[in-house]
């Protein structure tokens, strides 16, 4: 039985964007962006949980909430059995961030161009007072570089970021995250800036580290095609809500929520025999703004199956197959999904 490492209950983050003095004077109505709107999920130890969705759906905000770089509006976060919702004194936060690290999307801007690879990777050690002498830290940095297969480490340790390729830069960013031996890594679009082959290489590496370093990932991505390989569980976000979750294979092969169905259908597949054929993308319009979340089911204005109940009542989480596969849809399990959605 898999052990839960992170538990989120009713995780909520609302941003107040009325904050200008002028608007206060005018007593304008508060403008609230419901970036993350009461979501529940668990992540199991030594697994990778993928969080997917379109831009603006709130997936990065979830990552930031877990990193505690944003305060929760409501809800509860439990990491390794400890409630981390309320920790905000510096010492405890520091201890928490030692076991929870982050990898960012863009390796071209997440590394300081004036720092050498050594300085970049050793910085967490300095912050957490690990490794007494510079020699000791150099040894630790070398080991971290070997871990991400920047070998021989001597060749990379004294280079500047502009002297190495994009894939190598992302490895440096991973080494920096690994050097504190964390248990949990939030990886926010770690491969979206990289070429296909480099992307494959980095994902292989990150997957190997799960076993080698006892890691657990929250993998935030818009690229659904990589989740089948990299993740065990998946959550699909739409407009601040987690509309579907379950095992990657279940969710991608038999999506329950109409939004997930559209999303999965939209992913291009390398099947040249279908060249030129038009795909049926059943959903209409564009994602509404987070300040103006529709009543009832938030997906109903775009949903091809919407009924009256969808307009009036928020759908509960439904588990139609008695397993971990859930969707927030009134008709979960009743909507047929055809993988081959071509109309012409």
């Amino acid at each position: 039985m898999a052990e839960t490492i992170l538990k989120a209950r009713n995780l909520t983050k609302h941003f107040d964007i009325t904050q200008s003095f002028f608007n206060l004077l005018l007593r304008k109505q508060k403008m609230i962006v419901r970036a993350v709107d009461g979501i529940d999920f668990e992540i199991n130890r030594k697994q990778s949980f993928a969080l997917v969705g379109e831009s603006g759906c709130g997936k990065t905000t979830v990552g930031k909430l877990i990193m505690k770089s944003l305060e929760l509006t409501d809800g509860k976060l439990v990491m390794e059995g400890k409630d981390i919702t309320e920790i905000n004194d510096t010492a405890k936060l520091k201890a928490y961030r030692r076991v929870t690290q982050m990898i960012y999307q863009d390796p071209f801007s997440s590394l300081d161009p004036r720092f050498k690879v050594f300085d970049i990777v050793q910085e967490p050690l300095l912050i957490h007072d690990i490794g007494g002498s510079i020699e000791e830290r150099r040894e630790l940095v070398k080991r971290a570089l070997e871990e991400v297969r920047l070998v021989p480490p001597e060749e990379f340790i004294d280079r500047y970021p502009h002297m190495i390729s994009g894939g190598q830069r992302q490895r440096v960013a991973i080494a920096r995250a690994l050097i504190l031996k964390p248990d949990f890594i939030v990886a926010d679009e770690p491969v979206s800036m990289l070429d296909v082959s480099v992307r494959a290489e980095i994902l292989n590496l990150m997957k190997d580290l799960i076993e080698k370093e006892n890691l657990t990932y929250l993998y935030i991505t818009h690229d659904i095609s990589t989740t089948r390989f990299f993740s065990d569980d998946i959550g699909v976000m739409y407009l601040g809500d987690l509309v579907e979750k379950g095992k990657v294979g279940d969710v991608l092969d038999t999506p329950l929520h109409p939004y997930t169905q559209a999303l999965v259908t939209a992913v291009p597949e390398p099947k040249p025999e279908r060249v030129g054929r038009i795909k049926e993308i059943p959903i209409k319009g564009e994602v509404p703004s987070g300040t103006n979340v529709p009543e009832g089911c938030r997906f109903h204005p775009r949903c091809p199956y919407a009924k009256k109940v969808c307009k009036n009542k928020q759908p509960p989480e439904k588990y139609p197959y008695d397993d971990g596969h859930a969707a927030k849809c009134h008709f979960a399990g009743q909507i047929e999904y055809d993988k081959e959605q071509y109309i012409e």
Binding site: S197, R228, L263, P268
Partner: protein
């Protein structure tokens, strides 16, 4: 019935003359496109895809220069044109391009309509109501409302802006449209819709297109013909169906295997170790040999010539020469 060839490129080389030496961005590219045909151009960043596109428009910026070869665009020899002639004769008239990150090229201070009308006025002297009608017709082609004509770019979503750009590129009914990463910055649902539009347009207008992207999954949906580029070379070119099912060049083979699949469980993703070479001093012999899992002695010494293997043109010593 064989269709007319609209674009024929022979031995095209474009180099960038930098202070460190010549960067061989594109070397000896040859291919042709027939009317109504879509060519997919794939490869890693820096392999010369965009250099090729800019060369076709005669829009290579200094220190870049076309150093060799010919481009026959429907009877016009593009390499011989002066800047002024190129602007008047071919750009947007015969060949147009949707640039990478195109969403950001709309000027925020003019309405969509004002920007769309510009090529009509410049090339055909069409203005006023007539220009508006033509623009609206093309907006409709890409599934956009006529009212968008009077809107400013900031009022449009990313997907809408991208559609405006595509509509503008089609406005002059060019023979060839080059699409450089047209959907890269877009979400997958929007991307799929735009791809649907492009497929429809191809059927309706019967124009030729060159589709540039590093994403082979997208190319599979639109390409009749596929060209794989590596380090400034076209290393494999042929029918898309043939190449997807049986890639000949070891590089293509690995590239195809690196695509993650949505509906199959896989343990490991294939990848190509190493990085693309420095194009000032490309490797001796075959430019891919330092990263190739099938390389042998000859690959290090001799530049491979193009050869035909099962109807596909490949630049690789693994196959016998013609």
């Amino acid at each position: 019935m064989s269709k007319k060839t609209v674009l024929e490129v022979n031995d095209l080389s474009t180099h960038y003359m930098t202070s460190k030496g010549d960067v061989r961005g594109l070397d000896d590219a040859s291919f042709e496109i027939k009317r109504g045909e879509a060519l997919g151009l794939a490869g890693e960043s820096g392999c010369g895809k965009s250099t090729l596109a800019f060369s076709l428009l005669k829009m290579v910026q200094p220190p870049g220069k076309i150093v060799k070869g010919t481009i026959d665009l429907d009877g016009i020899e593009v390499t011989k044109l002066t800047e002024k002639q190129a602007r008047k004769k071919i750009r947007w008239n015969k060949i147009s391009m949707v640039f990478q990150g195109a969403m950001d090229i709309l000027t925020p201070v003019y309405t969509v309509g004002q920007q769309m009308k510009e090529p009509l006025k410049y090339h055909k002297g069409i203005e006023g109501k007539e220009a508006r009608e033509i623009c609206v017709e093309y907006l409709d082609l890409v599934d956009l409302d006529a009212e968008l004509f009077d809107r400013y770019p900031h009022e449009l979503s990313g997907g809408q802006k991208q559609r405006v750009i595509i509509a503008t590129a089609l406005l002059m009914e060019p023979d060839v449209v080059i699409l450089d990463e047209p959907t890269t910055a877009l979400d997958v649902v929007v991307e799929a819709r735009i791809m649907n539009d492009l497929k429809r347009l191809k059927k309706e207008l019967d124009n030729s297109s060159i589709f540039i992207t590093h994403d082979l999954s997208i190319l599979a949906e639109v390409s009749d013909k596929l060209a794989i580029m590596y380090a400034g070379w076209i290393i494999e070119i042929g029918s898309a169906l043939d190449i997807y099912h049986d890639p000949k060049h070891p590089y293509t083979e690995k590239l195809m295997a690196a695509i993650p699949t949505l509906h199959e469980d896989i343990d490991r993703l294939e990848y190509i170790p190493g990085a693309p070479p420095d194009l000032i001093r490309p490797p001796s012999g075959c430019r891919f040999h330092p990263r190739c899992h099938k390389a042998f002695d000859k690959c290090r010494e001799e530049v491979p010539a193009d050869r035909m293997v099962d109807g596909v043109r490949v630049k690789c010593h693994l196959y016998p020469e013609d």
